[in-house]
């Protein structure tokens, strides 16, 4: 783990005290986002998302498998996020660690709990055969805010996924049935300041992190607080509001990028 020298910490704190960030963004402002889809032709759906220098590729593979015994008429989704050593000098090879596990579980819940994939439409033969949707997320370049980049890449990939029914000889291909997805926005707190979409430097300085996923109605669909620090109730409410505002803009860009 890189230890940000205290000098960097002080510099960021001093800037923040003047209402500024390293890259001149506002506290409630995201870095530029780009979303490209269909970047992997072997995948059923795929997307490359950049938030600033952070870069994530998500690919969707589908296959036919068995349903869980407690939901015999539902498809199955599996999410895996890998923090491969390609993306950062601090990521090591080997089985996923706490950080990667939290990331993939938060992305997974964001999609699963909001029922973004209509799993009940992915049954081929009750109790026997259903579609399995694998969401694989590769972090390519890590400059902060993986939660939002990974979640956005997964959504863009899902929204451009074609169910490969023909390949599996179970009918004609069709677009993966998808509901309106919530959008995830992450903020961090350092030295009493709360900023959205943290850069790597800001993340390394941060005492507390809060991810809020909101839907098109501005309702809350998922939250995850992280790190040793704390938030006040007021800070949380403010983060929610900023997340709703940014979520709206990002949702528009997402829809545009997937052609909807």
């Amino acid at each position: 783990m890189t230890i940000t020298p205290s000098i960097k910490r002080e510099y960021l704190a001093k800037l923040a005290g003047q209402g500024k960030r390293e890259d001149d963004r506002g506290f409630d402002e995201f870095r530029p986002i780009t979303i490209e889809t269909n970047v992997i032709s072997k995948a059923e759906g795929s997307a490359r998302v950049k938030i600033g220098n952070t870069q994530v590729v998500a690919g969707i593979k589908m296959s036919v498998g068995e349903p869980y015994s407690d939901s015999p008429e539902s498809g199955v989704m599996v999410t895996a996020a890998e923090l491969i050593p390609l993306a950062s000098p601090d990521f090591e090879a080997g089985p996923p660690r706490e950080k990667a596990i939290e990331l993939s579980r938060v992305v997974d819940r964001g999609i699963r709990e909001s029922e973004v994939i209509e799993l009940d439409k992915l049954c081929i033969e009750p109790k026997e055969k259903v579609w399995v949707v694998f969401i694989d997320i590769h972090i390519i370049d890590y400059d902060g805010n993986l939660f939002d980049a990974a979640s956005l890449a997964a959504l863009a990939a899902l929204m451009t996924t074609t169910v490969p029914a023909n390949n599996f000889e179970v009918g004609d291909d069709y677009p993966l049935p998808i509901k309106e997805p919530p959008v995830s926005c992450t903020s961090v707190k350092f030295n009493g300041n709360v900023v959205i979409d943290p850069s790597l430097d800001e993340e390394e300085t941060a005492e507390a992190r809060l991810t809020v996923a909101t839907d098109q109605n501005g309702d809350i669909r998922a939250m995850q607080k992280g790190l040793n620090g704390s938030f006040t109730v007021d800070e949380i409410k403010k983060v929610i509001n900023t997340s709703i505002d940014n979520g709206k803009k990002i949702r528009e860009q997402l829809y545009k990028s997937v052609g909807k």
């Binding site: 309702d219 995850q224 607080k225 006040t232």
Partner: protein, 240 residues
Amino acid sequence: MKSDIKLFENGKRLDGRKPDELRNIKIETGVLHRAEGSCYLEWGGNKVIVAVYGPREAIPRHTQNPLRAIVNARYNMAAFSVDDRKRPGPDRRSREISKVISEALGHAIFLERFPRASIDVNIEVLEAEAGTRCAGLTAAGVALVDAGIPMRDIPVACAAGKIEGQVVLDLGKEEDNFGSADLPIAISPRTGEILLLQMDGHMTGDEFNTALDMAIKGCHTVSEIQKKAITEKYQKTEGD
């Protein structure tokens, strides 16, 4: 999952509780011989036991932080703690919970007093019935006091949630399975700061505010039970 069970009817929940009513909680401290601090907690059908070891030299060495202690909470479910036997050993869920509990506890401890050390908080779930992460964190807070770890405050946890449009405190098992949102939090009761917060499901902004408020109140109630357990232990010890 959908269900035909009516979770909320005539102002009452399945198990007869009112919306803002906690399940029964029983806390006992100093229950283990080997551990430096320990706590046994029952919370509704949950049974949790916590043992604290440390501060001691963190191993392996590369986990040491030269400026402060690390908190190494390990949330583990016994194979027999759930309806379908759980394979022994950590899984992804338990590792995520261990991480968020470690982070929440860390805020309360004077970590900077113990550079290079680890404070190991072993949370063993003997029986699970919705809300084990809140139960585990709450028991951990008491066990840390029992171990004499210097702390700013005793962290405490409680969840609120939503069932059939109604915001309620401390979801039970069916409420957790069939309800529409769950919001477990942990706070520092002296300052009211939020140390842990997760949310799954669907809430409007207003519902969230109500739920957060209710969960914080719940935390304060649980905090009183924590303190009583600690006081009783010390009174007993003095009486010896």
